[in-house]
Point group: C2
Chain length 724, copies 2
Amino acid sequence: MIEDLRKGRFTLPAETGIDNEVKRIIEKWGADAIRNSDGTILSKELMDMAVKVYTTYLTVRNDQQWAYSHRDQLQMQYLMSKHNTAANEVLEIDLLDGYFNRQFEIDKDHDIKRYWEVIDRTSGELLDVNHWEFDCNTQKVVINNAKKWHRYTVSFLAYQVWDTTQMYNHLTNNWTTAPEMPYDAIHEETREHIFSYLDNWLKENPSVDVVRFTTFFYHFTIAYNDKAKEKFVDWFGYSASVSPKAMDEFEKVKGYRLRAEAFVDEGYYNSPFRVPSKEFLDWIDFVQGFVAENAKKCVDLCHSYGKEAMMFLGDNWIGTEPYGDYFGNIGLDSVVGSVGSGATLRLISDIPHVKYTEGRFLPYFFPDTFYEGGNPTKEAVENWVQARRAILRKPVERMGYGGYLSLALKFPEFVEKIEEITNEFREIHYKMEGTKAYTAKFKVAVLNAWGKLRSWQTNMVAHALWYKKIYSYVGVIECLSGMPVDVVFMSFEDIKKKGIPEDIGVIINAGDAGTAWSGDKYWVDDEVTGKLREWVHNGGGFIGIGEPTAYQHQGKYFQLSDILGVDREMGYTLSYTRHDKAQEETHFILQDQKSEIDFGEGMKYVYRVSDSTQILSMDNGDINLAVNEFGKGRAVYISGLPYTPENVRILLRALYWAAAKEEEMFTWYTSNSNTECAAYLQTGNVAIINNSDKVQETEVYRDKNSAVKLSLNPYEIKWICMEL
Amino acid sequence: MIEDLRKGRFTLPAETGIDNEVKRIIEKWGADAIRNSDGTILSKELMDMAVKVYTTYLTVRNDQQWAYSHRDQLQMQYLMSKHNTAANEVLEIDLLDGYFNRQFEIDKDHDIKRYWEVIDRTSGELLDVNHWEFDCNTQKVVINNAKKWHRYTVSFLAYQVWDTTQMYNHLTNNWTTAPEMPYDAIHEETREHIFSYLDNWLKENPSVDVVRFTTFFYHFTIAYNDKAKEKFVDWFGYSASVSPKAMDEFEKVKGYRLRAEAFVDEGYYNSPFRVPSKEFLDWIDFVQGFVAENAKKCVDLCHSYGKEAMMFLGDNWIGTEPYGDYFGNIGLDSVVGSVGSGATLRLISDIPHVKYTEGRFLPYFFPDTFYEGGNPTKEAVENWVQARRAILRKPVERMGYGGYLSLALKFPEFVEKIEEITNEFREIHYKMEGTKAYTAKFKVAVLNAWGKLRSWQTNMVAHALWYKKIYSYVGVIECLSGMPVDVVFMSFEDIKKKGIPEDIGVIINAGDAGTAWSGDKYWVDDEVTGKLREWVHNGGGFIGIGEPTAYQHQGKYFQLSDILGVDREMGYTLSYTRHDKAQEETHFILQDQKSEIDFGEGMKYVYRVSDSTQILSMDNGDINLAVNEFGKGRAVYISGLPYTPENVRILLRALYWAAAKEEEMFTWYTSNSNTECAAYLQTGNVAIINNSDKVQETEVYRDKNSAVKLSLNPYEIKWICMEL
Ligand SMILES: [Mg+2]
Ligand SMILES: [Mg+2]
Ligand SMILES: [Mg+2]
C-alpha cells in the first residue's frame, strides 16, 4: 500500500458551530477521523463526511437516572482515616476528616464489622471488633480502650457519589451540572443495564464509526480533600475497584478472604512504588478477569453493529492492563492514549492484541496553553520531537490532538506547524513500511518487582508527571524509548520462575531503595541474587541506577555490591577510610560526552568497595559513575539518569560496554549525541533525527569503518538511502 | 585567689637543643608547665625550672623487650575477611586479603573453632564448624560445601604486631625504628609487669611532676590496608580490646558467652553510628571495669611517688569512658585532650571526677601548617574563637599546644598571637572566678541510643573530622557547646527506665535514619514514643533535625510525624498531592536571620503532614524548617544545622520557642547573631564575644527592656560590668 503523505493517520477533535473551519483543517492536517468528546455534539454534516467518527462512550456513568435510582449499586472506595493519636483511653476518629464530603459517602449498608478495620498503627495490631463502635450521627468511630499515645486508623468503605473525572472538570472549569455518580458492574442488575444501554446507544447512533470507550468499569484512584482540592491521585490505583460484593466474589475465586488492609496498605493504597503484595497482585488479577470478560461483551456489541471499539488508556482504564494476561481477550480494535514523552508513546505503541494504536499529542487546545502571548507551537514541537524518536522504534499507527479546535485556530503558526508534524508522521510510516529499525543483537531487560505489567511505566507517578523524586529514574525508560535496543520488562518473580532468558544482554535495575523499582526485600532473596550473580559471572551485563539492589543486610546496603563495585554509605561505614578517585583516562562510556554529565538528583554517599572498580565520575567525594567486572560480566553504576540527548548516549554506550559488544555499537550509529538514526534494513531507508533546537553536524556510521557526514536543521528528520 | 593574668594555666611542648628559646617562650606565653612527648628528652636545666614537667607514658608498649619475649600476650583484634562470593562449592577465603600484613598476625594459638566464625552473609547463617577448615600454609579458610553465589566472611582473631600509633608515625614520617608491639594487661603476668615497670620508671624519673598517660591499656580501632594505608579508623572502637582470655573472663562476669559477631558486627565493628547491641554495651561495661580497676593501680603508683596522673583522651583511651560509670574510680588528677572545636572542648571540660582538664589547641606545630607562606596565626585564631564560646560555658582549666616549638618560633606574628590568646584565656578564668554563666531555666537533652556515654560525641567520626555525611548534625552540638543552655545527653533506655526528668525543657533528636543518633528501632518502641508523646503533649519541646524519629513502619517514616508535623517522602506517598508552601509572615525563630539559612546537606523530600504545621523555609519543594504544635507542646523540624554563628541563633530561638519561653530568651541576649554574651551573675562580669572576623555592633540585653550598645573588633572579647 502506498501511503498518501498528505492525508490519513490523524484524528481531529471536533467542535460544534465552526463546521467550515473544521472542514478546512481536516484538509490541511489530513485528518481521516474526527472525535467528539464529552459534551460535544457533531453536526450531521460532519458526521456524514468521508471521515471516521469517534464518539466517546462513558460506560459507567452515561445513565445517571440509573445511578440515582440504584444508589446501593454505586462504586465504592476503601479509605483510611488519618492516623489519630490517643491522648486518652477513649479515642474518637472522624472518618471523613480530610476528605471531600461531596465525593464520598460512608457505606452503612454493609456489615461494618466485617468490612472495616481499626488498626493500632503503633503496634500494627488489628483491633478486635468488639473494642470499637461507629456512631452514625457523628460519623465517628469510637475506640473505648485505646492505648494511650498509640496511633489508630480506621479503614472503611465509602460510596463514590461523584465521578472523579466529572468532579475534576466541575471543580477545575466551574461546571455546574449535577454530579454524576459511577455505578458498579459487579452487580448483575447494573451490568445487564450497562450492556442494554450500550446496545440501545449503538442502535441510536448509526453515524458513529468508532466507539471510544472512556473507559470501562473502574476509574484510577482519586480522592479530594476537605478543601475540594486533590489529595491523592494514583493513575495506577485499584482503590476504586472494590466493594463487598467484589470481595466476596474474590474469596470464591481465589480461595481466601482479603482484609481491608490489602487495599489500604498502611495508607499507601498500593502505590506502584510499593513492592506489590500477593494479595494486591491477586486482586489485580481478579479485577482484570472481571473487566476483560465484561469489556469483551461491550466490544462484541460494537462489532455486532459494525463499529470499531477503541479504548482510551486512562480514566476508567483500571483492570484493562494492556500488558496483562487478559487484555487480548477483550478483542479491542484499538487503544488511544496521551503522549507526554517517548516512554508514554511506547506505553501505547507497544500494546499488543490490537489492530492499531493512537497517540493524543500535546498540547491540549486548552486556554492554559492557548492564551494571548502563549507559545503552543514550541510545546507541540518539543512534544513531537521527544515522541518521534520512540515512534521510529515502534510507532503508534495514528495521532491526534484534543481540546477546542477554535482555540488552536487563533494561532496560525501553530496550525502550520501541526501540518508539518502530521506530514512528517505520515512520511515516517511511508518509509518504515511497517518494518522495524535495526536494533542491538542483545535485548535489554528492565528489572523490578512489577515486570511486564508495568511496561514503560516504571518509576512513574500519575502518568509521567515530573517529580523531583523520580525524574532521574524515569529518564532511563525515556532514554530507552527511542534507542536502537529491544526492551523487555522483567520481574523478580520472572527470574525466580523462569530464570533469565537467553536473549537478554543487559539488565537494568533503577530506583530508590525500598521501592518496587529497586526491589526492596527481593534483594535478600538468594534465588534472585544467586541467579543474577551466576548470569553476570557468565558474561551478562548489569546496570544499576540510583539505589540498585538496595537492602540493608549483613554488612551491605547494595546487595550486589560485588557486581556493581560500589555501595552506599548509610552511616555505618564512615570509619572506613576512602581512597576513591575518578580515573583520569577516558572510558568507552564517556567518549561522546562533551559537557558535564547531568546525573539529575544523583545519589549522595556512593563509594567504591572493590579495587577492580573504575570510577568514571565523582562529585564532592561521591561516585556518580563507575564500572566494574565480575567474572566474565560487567557492571555499570550511575547515580541518576534524567532524560537528555547526551544521557541517551551514555546509556547506549553503557549498554554496549556492559554487554561487552562495544564494536557492534557502531552499526547505524551517529557521532553527534544530539542526533540519532534508525535504519530500516528491509526498506533500505535510514532516518537521522536532530533532537536539539540547533543545527547539528554528524557522521552516520553504517559500521565502524564507513560513515557519511550530514548536517541537520533544528529538530530536522532526514531520510537517506541505505547505500552510504 | 587573684590570678596572675600573665602567667599560668599553660603547657608548652618542650624541645631539646633550644633551651634559651624555650625559656623565653615560657615567660612570654606564661607557661607553668612543659611537656615532653614521645621521643623528646628534656635537659636537666629545663626539668628543674620552676614549672611543672609532664612526661608522656606509654603504658602498654614502653617495654618492647617484654613485648618481644611474650608474643602470646600481645594485644589482639577481631577482624573480618572481605565478603567472598562463592562461584563454586569450594570457596577459599584469604583472611588477610585487604589488610596490612605488618600490622596483623593471625592467631593460631587458640582454638579457632571456638573463637572464629564463618558466616553466610547472604542468609545470615553461622556455618557449622565442621564445614570449614583453616589452611595454615595459605592462611586461607576453605569452605567445602558453599552455597553457590552466596557470600561468606570469616571472623578471626589476629595479634597486633605493630602498635597503631607508632605504625602511623612510621608510615607518615618515614620512621625506621623497630615496630613496637602492644602487650595486653588482661594477662596477669603482663599486668604485673606493667605495674612494676611503671613503679621503676617513677623511681627513676624524679623530676617528672605529671605522668601523662598516653594512655592506658587499649587503643581505639585502626586497621591498615594491603597498600599500607589507613583502611579503618574508629576513635570510639573497642575492636582492639578483645582476646580469648578477655572473652572467657566476660563469660564469667556476665554469665553468657560472646560470639565473634558481637565484635565484627557484619563488618561495621560496632561503629557508634550503629544502635549498640546489648552484647556490645555489656562488653564496653566489662572493659571499663577492667580498665578502671587497673588504671587506678597505675594512678595510685603515681600518687605514691608524689606525682600527678593525667590521662590523654585519645590513643589508648578505650575503656576509660570519661562519661561512664567507672571513670571516677580511676582517681585521675586530670585529663588532657585535643580541642578541634567547641564540642570537643566541652567533651574535655565537662569530664567529671578530675581536679582539672586541659585542652591541646590547634594548630600543632607541624610542617603541614608551619611552612613558608603558611598562615598558622589564622588557624590558631579560628580554633581559639570557636573554642572560646564553649570555654565561657564550661572552661578547661588549662591550655597548651603540641608539636615542635622551633617551627612556631619562625612565625613571630604567631608567637605574639599566642601570647594574646593565653592572656585572654587567663582573663576569662579571672573574670569567671570558677562560677558558671547564666543559662536558660530549662535544660536541653540530646536524645540518641548512646546517651551520656557519648556526651559531646554525637554524630562524630574519628574525633571531629569533617565528613559530608555528618557536619550538618555535628553542627548541633557545636552550636550547643557555646550556648547559654545546660545540655544533657539522654538515651532511649534512660527514657524507658527513668522517664524524662523534670528539668528538661527541650529534647533534640538529630541524625540520619538507621543510625544510633536518630534511633532506628527505638522509634517503634511504644514505651519511647508513648513517653515522648505524653511529655510533648503536656508542654515539652521537641526539635528534630535531619531524619528524626525515622523508621519505616505502619504508614509513617518519621514515627513522631504527629509531633513534628512533617514526614519524609520515601517514594510511597508520591501519589499524595502536596500543597506545601512556606508562610510569608516571619516567625520568632527567624527574627535575627539576615541572610539565606545554611542547612548544610539538608534533607530532601520532607513534606507537611498536618494543617497545623507552619512551614518557615522550603527549597525546591522540600521543607527545611517547620514548626508544629502538639497538645500543649511545640516541635521544630530542621533539615540540617551545620555550625555557623547564624545557626547558633536559629537553634537558640528554636529552643526558646519550643520551650514556649520566648520572652525569657532576652535575658542576657545580644541582638547581633555574630555576637554572644555570657553573664556571670555571681561575679557581676559579662563577656561579650565577636565570633566573626569583622567589626560588629550589637545590643546587649539584660532583659527585654534594658540593653546597651557595643562595638566589637574582629574576634574581640569585651568584659562589661553587670550594671548596664
Ligand atoms: Mg462516517
Ligand atoms: Mg479524560
Ligand atoms: Mg598521640
